[in-house]
């Protein structure tokens, strides 16, 4: 079978990239690492007429960690660079872990965190942690720039809130609140290196041992990475005991609507959401307690 044909542009500024997308229309596709895009083209799931490579835009791969402004991950920052970044590992350890648990070495050397989000797979390994930490995406487009919370960005499998001509230029994470703890747990067939069958990311905030805020996001068990709000509510305002964690994890599982697919059956996913939520909440509690005692 002959390869699908397309043209290629490598703009050097965001404005040029946006212009190329506007001129090209909907069959012009953005590429960062290409680890989702090229696979889809090869598997004949997508037939773009033109590819706009973002990797030649200077500075778009910047990563910055700042006490006041939080973490900013540029659109072309590699999964490998996010996983290895000292500032992220120190101040946003779960963000680094999730990037490091995405795919394999080669794919992490090509693929990006922002590409993982824009691909909008319900199983995207970087989405749950970033959503739990209240991340926002910065968008550039023909009518200027805008930002939106990551949990409004995902609209369905493969569908984001981006409009024609828009690209995400960065994902930003606010500084973690005092007393917070985060964790991400996932399961997949080949260890951690293929797309996850289930993933749970969480951030909780403790004041003494009282939970004052909680976010639990489940990946791969709904059309989008999903907040389980009833489970979150059960934790807020209470002492975070093992019993309460188990009850909240069970509720989280009941809130999801997994399907059976090549990666796992629906019933397995339901069971595993509860298991992973227990692990994630327990780890997040531990991190929060450790941070408060080391102060």
């Amino acid at each position: 079978m002959p390869a699908a044909q397309f043209d290629y542009i490598a703009p050097t500024t965001v404005d040029e990239a946006v212009a190329a997308l506007v001129n090209g229309g909907k069959d012009t596709r953005v590429m960062a690492g290409g680890t989702d895009l090229i696979v889809k083209i090869r598997h004949r799931m997508l037939f773009p007429t033109c590819i706009v490579n973002l990797k030649r835009i200077a500075g778009l791969d910047a990563i910055s960690v700042d006490k006041k402004n939080g973490l900013t991950i540029g659109a072309t920052a590699l999964l490998a660079d996010v996983a290895a970044n000292k500032g992220i590992r120190r101040h946003y350890p779960t963000v680094a872990e999730a990037a490091g648990a995405t795919a394999n070495v080669q794919v992490r050397n090509m693929g990006t965190v922002v590409g993982n989000l824009c691909n909008a797979s319900p199983s995207a390994d970087n989405a749950p942690t970033l959503m739990a930490m209240g991340a926002t995406v910065d968008i550039a487009g023909p009518s200027g720039g805008r930002s939106m919370p990551l949990d409004q960005f995902f609209q369905g499998p493969g569908v984001t809130a981006l409009e024609t001509g828009e690209i995400v230029i960065a994902v930003r994470v606010p500084p973690p609140p005092a007393g917070s703890g985060t964790a991400y747990h996932s399961l997949s067939q080949r260890g951690k290196l293929d797309c996850s069958a289930v993933g749970v990311g969480t951030m909780i905030v403790l004041n003494d041992d009282q939970c004052t805020d909680a976010r639990i996001i489940v990946g791969a068990c709904a059309p989008v990475p999903m907040r389980t709000r009833a489970a979150e509510k059960m934790l807020i305002g209470k002492r975070m005991t093992d019993t309460l964690i188990r009850q909240a994890a069970q509720t989280a599982s009941e809130e999801t609507s997994p399907i059976t697919d090549v990666r796992a059956s629906a019933s397995y996913r339901w069971k595993m959401v509860a298991v992973l939520a227990i692990r994630a909440l327990t780890d997040a509690r531990q991190m929060a307690l450790r941070k408060s005692t080391s102060k």
């Binding site: 043209d7 680890t35 080669q106 290196l193």
Partner: protein, 163 residues
């Protein structure tokens, strides 16, 4: 439309005109006759096509050749440029019996090089995680892990091994 690119492979610079949809894997194998780089799955899963671009290991089956303009690429042929003196990684693979059919070997060796450059004396767990993107259907991996550990010892520190 063809795009003019200039890339360096194993120290040699090539100027080529390539179609946008052709992969680095195709250009290496078909245009440059560097068939040491293999094609297995074509979708990023097996690692047989691994090459090193500007110091980073990547899957050449998912890399567009046009993107390689100005880049420096190392393939398995570049590990032993003379064709006579082998690279310590290659020697260790032979001595430890880490090669059976050999299809995974070029990719394994480049993943090994990528690891050993930043972590000369890795643990077995670190080796296994570094080659987790490289599938081998023959060896059962143990001998590959042994070979990479051995290569690391030989390459670091160079003075002890006389290299």
């Amino acid at each position: 439309m063809k795009h003019d690119i200039s890339l360096t492979v194993n120290g040699d610079t090539y100027t080529l005109a390539v179609e946008a949809w052709r992969t680095l894997n195709e250009v290496l194998r078909e245009d440059l006759n560097l068939t040491g780089t293999k094609l297995g799955c074509g979708s990023g899963d097996c690692g047989a096509c691994t090459v090193i671009v500007d110091g980073k290991s990547v899957s050449s089956c998912l890399t567009l050749a046009v993107e390689m303009d100005g880049r420096r690429i190392l393939t398995v042929e570049g590990l032993a440029p003379s064709g006579e003196t082998l690279h310590p990684i290659q020697e260790a693979f032979i001595e430890k019996g880490a090669i059976q059919c050999g299809f995974c070997t070029p990719g394994m060796e480049l993943s090994a090089l990528h690891l050993l450059k930043t972590n000369p004396l890795p643990s077995d767990t670190q080796i296994r995680s570094a080659i987790s993107g490289n599938l081998c259907r023959c060896t059962g991996y143990n001998k590959i892990v042994d070979a990479i550990a051995e290569a690391g010892r030989r390459m670091d520190p160079p003075s002890k091994t006389g290299r």
